[in-house]
């Protein structure tokens, strides 16, 4: 396995480089036979938990607050169920496909299926246990699939969603992670993606666009869709995303060192700047700064800084944040209405476009002065890096778009993708899950409980609100 984790070993080398400047007292982290360092492990475990938090409750609430009241549970279910589903896929299969021994630069071998032989020993080239690396990476797989769900909320059938998710994780995420981070061809090419601009954000954002086109608009879109039902939930979700993103980006140093602190700082700066930017554009353009706009802007900034977070300075991060605010606002407020697709929660505008901006911006702003083992970008005298970044972007767009299209077509052969119009009116919570999110009514108006006796356990399928009984 040695030599596969090109990106990670870079950072280790960087550590050694720095350490050698500091004299011999700090040799502990730089031994060639890697050992588990408690500090690095503490940080990577913490970061893994933080990235888990991003999916649920972070993203779940960010999305859940934006849909209408009758679909909030089905939206939360997307994220929560994926946390279960993709985590199992990951430990059984996904990790090995992504980070198993390389097979032609394309995919990993199944050596590690079921995490066989993966334990507490240090991972190759790192000072953290192999399993800590597995978990950290697994949380990325989970959230990437979850991000896509924002595009098809309020209409997708649950069966179709489950099939899509498993196939997408296996056929898009795992290969892509291998290409960039697992020893595959993109990483070998020198494409910089510190924490997942291509692997996570472009892939999910572009797939979301394709899914929006294949699955189609919500009934009544755009004139008759309902406004967000609970913005405080959305703001809570956005803040948790920001919080978790420190794990996402600074955790990607895979060590608790200066690089992690750099990534932490530029992440925070870009998020803050992009949030401000979005709010100010709204203020000028439409008369008022909105809370949702500010939160959306900060997420756009977090997306854009992700690939760059280990390679750029704070001032560059501010510039990247400004770009993210402008590009995200344009994508969500101008481009989407003009083209008319119903990417319901703006996955493409925020993750696809700003992820692309971030990947290219890495080719502009990267600097060896920040990270000696990264590369210089175009603004620091190395325009070639921008080209490499462009190749990475294009490859990701193509893979994500083509495979998402294919997967959805295959799923559609097995099961319908959408609920019926009547079900859409009744709401997915009741129709698909038999649950209602809020019961704020007076007692007596909210239904009568009965606990099913044993015999009627195999109960008739629940009726939706709208359909009447026959006859």
């Amino acid at each position: 396995m040695r030599g596969l984790h090109r990106r990670w070993s870079r950072e280790v080398l960087w550590g050694i480089g720095l350490l050698s400047l500091m004299g011999p007292t700090v040799w502990a982290q730089a031994t060639s036979a890697p050992t588990v360092d408690a500090g690095d492990t503490a940080w990577v475990l913490t970061a893994s938990a933080l990235v888990m938090l991003m999916t649920a409750p972070g993203l779940a609430l960010f999305y859940g607050g934006l849909v209408s009241q009758r679909n909030v549970l089905s939206t939360l279910m997307h994220s929560f169920f994926l946390l279960c589903l993709i985590s199992v896929q990951w430990v059984v299969l996904g990790y090995s496909l992504s980070f198993g021994p390389d097979l032609g630069g394309i995919i990993g071998r199944l050596t590690y299926w079921g995490l066989k032989g993966v334990g507490g020993e240090p991972n190759a080239g790192m000072n953290v246990p192999h399993l800590a690396f597995v978990m950290f990476q697994g949380m990325f797989a989970v959230i990437t699939v979850a991000l896509i769900t924002g595009t098809f909320v309020e209409r997708i059938r649950f069966t179709a969603f489950v099939l899509f998710a498993v196939m997408w994780a296996t056929l898009v995420y795992d290969p892509l992670a291998h290409w960039v981070w697992g020893g595959g061809w993109l990483g070998k090419l020198g494409a910089l993606d510190f924490a997942g601009g291509t692997v996570v954000h472009i892939s999910s954002g572009v797939s979301a666009l394709v899914a929006a086109l294949v699955i189609g608009r919500r009934r009544g879109y755009p004139e008759k869709v309902l406004p967000p039902h609970n913005l405080p939930l959305t703001i809570l979700g956005a803040a948790l995303l920001w919080f978790g993103w420190f794990g996402f980006n600074a955790g990607s140093a895979l060590a608790a060192n200066g690089l992690a602190a750099t990534a932490f700082t530029v992440t925070h700066a870009a998020a803050a700047m992009a949030g401000l930017m979005w709010a100010f554009i709204e203020w000028k353009h439409r008369g008022k700064p909105t809370v949702l706009g500010t939160a959306t802007g900060s997420v756009a900034g977090l997306v854009a800084i992700t690939p760059a977070s280990g390679y750029v300075s704070t001032l560059s991060a501010l510039a990247i944040g400004i770009g993210a605010g402008v590009i995200g606002y344009w994508g969500v407020n101008i481009l989407k209405p003009r083209l008319g697709y119903d990417d319901s929660l703006d996955v493409f505008g925020v993750h696809g476009l700003c992820g692309t901006w971030g990947a290219l911006a890495t080719g502009l702003f990267a600097s060896r002065a920040v990270n000696p083992l990264g590369a210089d970008g175009a603004l620091f005298g190395n325009p070639g890096q921008l080209l490499v970044q462009l190749i990475g972007v294009v490859a990701t767009w193509v893979l994500a778009a083509a495979m998402t299209f294919l997967i959805l077509k295959v799923v559609a052969l097995v099961t319908p993708l959408r609920v019926t119009e009547e079900e859409e009116i009744a709401g997915l919570d009741l129709v698909l899950h038999g649950e209602v999110a809020y019961n704020f009514l007076s007692p007596g108006m909210g239904g009568t409980a009965h606990v099913p006796a044993r015999s009627d356990a195999a109960v008739a399928p629940v009726r939706a609100e709208e359909p009447s009984r026959g006859g």
């Binding site: 009116i425 239904g447 606990v451 709208e466 009447s468 009984r469």
Partner: protein
């Protein structure tokens, strides 16, 4: 003057309101209600329990309007609120003795 009270399906409110506006209905008051009737309720599941509810979400529209507009308004509601399935709702008509606009103190038909 009469008062029309109509119970309809919530998602049709917009269509009903627009159609009423077209025939000259200038104002109305809308309330969220729960209806019980022939339409079957639904079942919810929370862990081991099942909840069945017979009270379904409906919207009640109240319009006070001159006698001569009543039939037209009824027509409009029948047309726009009908799906043909159980639960489409009702129209009830009541006598009104007086209507007053608070802003101006106007009384009678000019107040509505």
């Amino acid at each position: 003057m009469k008062k029309i009270e109509s119970i309809i399906r919530p998602h049709l409110l917009d269509a009903v309101k627009n159609a009423l506006q077209e025939i000259g209905v200038m104002g109305m008051t809308v309330t969220e209600v729960r209806g019980f009737g022939r339409q079957k309720g639904h079942t919810e599941m929370y862990r081991g329990s099942e909840y069945t509810t017979d009270f379904l979400p409906k919207v009640k529209i109240e319009i006070v309007l001159p006698d001569e507009l009543v039939e037209a308004a009824v027509e409009v509601i029948l047309r726009t609120a009908r799906t043909g399935r159980f639960g489409d709702g009702k129209i009830f008509i009541f006598p009104v003795e007086e209507a007053i606009r608070i802003r101006t103190g106007e009384r009678g038909e000019s107040a509505v």
